[in-house]
């Protein structure tokens, strides 16, 4: 059983388009992170959200933590080819257990 489900699993879009990736769970998390991973490398942290309803922006990327702290979304505006990669969410429960999501593989076509 996967604690954190991401959707879509695969996404292929044209450069300049907008997209949203979702990270959903039935569990409550005390905080949640988003990572990006490129082929042959380890994940790199993009952002941490800790408060229900929190919204954080990182240039063209907008991250939101759900009010109930069970879900999160990543929105990319005007996607660029450099955004291509595997996006992973990760949440920590109140018992300090860490879980990663299943991942969304994004391809931005020039």
């Amino acid at each position: 059983t996967q604690l954190l489900e991401q959707s879509p699993q695969f996404l292929s879009i044209q450069e300049g388009e907008n997209l949203t990736v979702y990270c959903n769970s039935s569990s409550v998390f005390s905080s949640l992170q988003w990572y990006r991973q490129e082929p042959g490398e380890g994940p790199v942290l993009l952002v941490t959200v800790v408060t229900g309803g929190e919204v954080k922006k990182l240039k063209r990327l907008t991250f939101q933590f759900g009010d109930a702290r069970k879900d999160s979304s990543l929105h990319i505006t005007a996607a660029q080819t450099g955004d291509t990669g595997l996006y992973l969410c990760a949440g920590i429960t109140g018992a300090n257990n860490l879980f990663f999501g299943t991942g969304t593989r994004l391809t931005v076509i020039p």
């Binding site: 042959g40 490398e41 380890g42 994940p43 800790v50 300090n96 257990n97 860490l98």
Partner: protein
């Protein structure tokens, strides 16, 4: 980039043989982690360490053991490798760990691709 290296980067072995993967850090971080990454499962925590000789189990610890005799090195051992342990293994480090929420940053190594035939 955080100073984390993993060795070997690629390994092919046969079922039943012992395998040890090494993670080495130059950041003097207290916490070190071993994950495996498989399609459809994301990253899953195998074991982690919160200090020299202090380790604990993660989500998928069966069939794996770890050791940490020095701050900079964290070893992952498969005592008798099985085909189900074919995966990409990542080491990560962090200064403060998981306690108190995931406000700490984990820095990941480049990974080790292990194939068990």
């Amino acid at each position: 980039d955080a100073g984390i290296t993993q060795s070997p980067r690629h390994k092919v072995t046969e079922t039943g043989t012992p395998v040890t993967l090494r993670c080495h850090q130059t950041e003097n971080h207290r916490y070190m982690y071993w994950y495996r990454q498989d399609p459809g499962h994301g990253l899953r925590l195998i074991h982690y360490s919160y200090g020299v000789k202090d380790t604990d189990k993660g989500e998928v610890s069966d069939g794996y053991s770890v050791s940490r005799s020095k701050t900079e090195d964290f070893l992952l051992t498969l005592e008798s490798a099985t085909s189900s342990q074919t995966s990409v293994y990542f080491c990560a480090i962090s200064p403060r760990g998981l306690a108190g929420g995931l406000t700490d940053t984990q820095y990941f190594g480049p990974g080790t691709r292990l194939t068990v035939l």
